[in-house]
């Protein structure tokens, strides 16, 4: 019943028959879902609250494993392997697949240390290498000019938008292959939102991006592909302009024209 576009490009991820059930729940929150994620493209996931889009996103870096008794089934293929197996090294996986959260999550340390955190975790100790890579990451996240004179200051002194860009800098510093954005602008003002969106589009050159958003205009503005989810199922996945102009599924059309949601 679902309309899923074929992607002939290289894929960053491929989801096959994926199901996810939260601990203690009777029914899965994501049901028999299959979808490709194109490399160096931006894939947006939209859908009403509770449709399972964040649940799906948090499966790509196995975030659900932080809490006990959540159940996965099916496959998520990343670099020719299924990342849902128990022998998957979650630490390595999370270095390769980074995540940006809804609320900025600056650590209680200096701006420099925030960005250096992931690098230090990888064992980089050399001061010069650290500062070069921190500077590069902050430039990539378009925040370098604002913070270059106060790298030693507490990161919590930054504004919400700046903190979110700092978190993006922290995530890109470790050079992941995929970045997951979980409603990255829902806690920000319109100007900061525009800045983050611009940044996400620029990042596409280097990483494959999946973004969950409540804001349909945002999906239309930034993404190459859009997937519409409803009640734990992927109803339609297609090129963004087609989803918003000529959706093939009736449900998709009703959602994007605001008939429910």
């Amino acid at each position: 019943m679902a309309t899923i576009i074929e992607i002939n490009k290289e894929k960053a991820l491929e989801v096959k028959n994926f199901e996810f059930t939260y601990a203690g729940a009777d029914t899965p929150s994501v049901k028999k879902l299959s979808m490709p994620v194109a490399k160096h493209n931006i894939t947006a996931l939209i859908g009403p609250s509770g449709c399972g889009k964040t649940t799906l996103l948090r499966s790509f870096n196995r975030m659900h494993d932080l809490y006990p008794n959540n159940k996965y089934s099916g496959e998520i293929i990343f670099k020719d392997r299924n990342i849902l197996t128990s022998k998957e090294d979650l630490i390595k996986l999370r270095i390769q697949i980074g995540m940006i959260f809804q609320k900025p999550t600056a650590f209680p340390m200096s701006i420099f240390d925030n960005v250096a955190y992931g690098l230090k975790l990888q064992g980089i100790k050399n001061r010069t290498e650290l500062s070069t890579r921190v500077e590069k990451a902050l430039k990539d996240a378009a925040i370098w000019n604002e913070v270059k004179d106060r790298l030693k200051h507490d990161a919590n002194g930054l504004s919400g938008g700046q903190q979110q860009r700092l978190c993006i800098a922290r995530a890109v510093a470790v050079e992941p292959e995929v970045l997951l954005f979980d409603e990255p602008t829902s806690a920000l003002d319109p100007i900061s939102t525009a800045g983050i969106e611009e940044l996400i589009v620029e990042l596409r050159e280097r990483v494959s991006i999946i973004i969950v958003t409540h804001n349909m205009q945002q999906a239309a503005r930034v993404s190459d592909y859009t997937g519409f989810m409803y009640l734990g199922e992927l109803v339609e996945l297609g090129r963004t302009e087609e989803i918003f102009v000529t959706p093939k599924e009736r449900l998709t059309e009703e959602y994007i024209t605001g008939k429910f949601g």
């Binding site: 932080l66 996986l93 959260f101 809804q102 999550t105 975790l121 978190c167």
Partner: protein, 281 residues
Amino acid sequence: MTHTQKRIIINDIVMALSTLSALIGMGFLFWILSVLIINGIDALSMSIFLNEGAPPGNSDGGLKHALIGQLYLVGYASFFGIPLGVLAGTYLSEYSQKSKVAEIIRDISDIMMSAPSIVIGAFVYAVVVAPFGHFSGWAGTIALSIIMLPIILRTTDDMLQLVPSTLREAAFALGAPKYKVIVQVVYRGAKAGILTGILLGVARVAGETAPLLFTSFNDNFLNTDMSQPMASLTVTMYNYATSPYEDWQKLGWAAAFILSMFILTLNILGRVFLLKKRGKR
């Protein structure tokens, strides 16, 4: 009288009553402090810090034995109590995954916190002092550690839980192993709160007398052997203050003054840390 007038009058009465109550409370506090300061400073002299206890009538008696004994007792109690409390609090907040066991531990420590300290003293008397046949510094240390443990455990637990879970998730999302997430991110976020808990825990046991009376007992001379009875400021103060000799009573005042200042300082430090943390937000 209109409805509004009535409300204004009731408001005035309530305000007057609560202001008066606050003043009465403050009045007693300052009364205690001023009596303590007047008598304490009067009794203070260099020889108090340099000399050990002396028989009554001997004017060069001091509190050196009690001060050093107190440092040993509180120092060792902190040495055991702080790491145990912080680690147990860490277990509850970070590792227990909201299990039944964790809830039971929380309830038990809440009960232990309000347990009369003399009961803890009696317990240590039964399991340490009685089997060994004599009072000892270790017994006092164990009693103080037990009193300190639940305070530090519960504040650590509470403060760690205040750290938003998204902060932990963000650290995990960068590929951090769990112990690094806890030590480098969560502890940092809760630093001020944990430190306050530690200071309040130490301040609490520093003022305990009852559990020491029948564990470390007392000694009128300097002793640094933890397996022997040991002097403490609180028990010394109790003995001196209740003695009929004027020079001993004076030393009792000095002990009370030094002890109060020490505990006051710890408490103020604790508040300062918390205020600093709030100020940052």
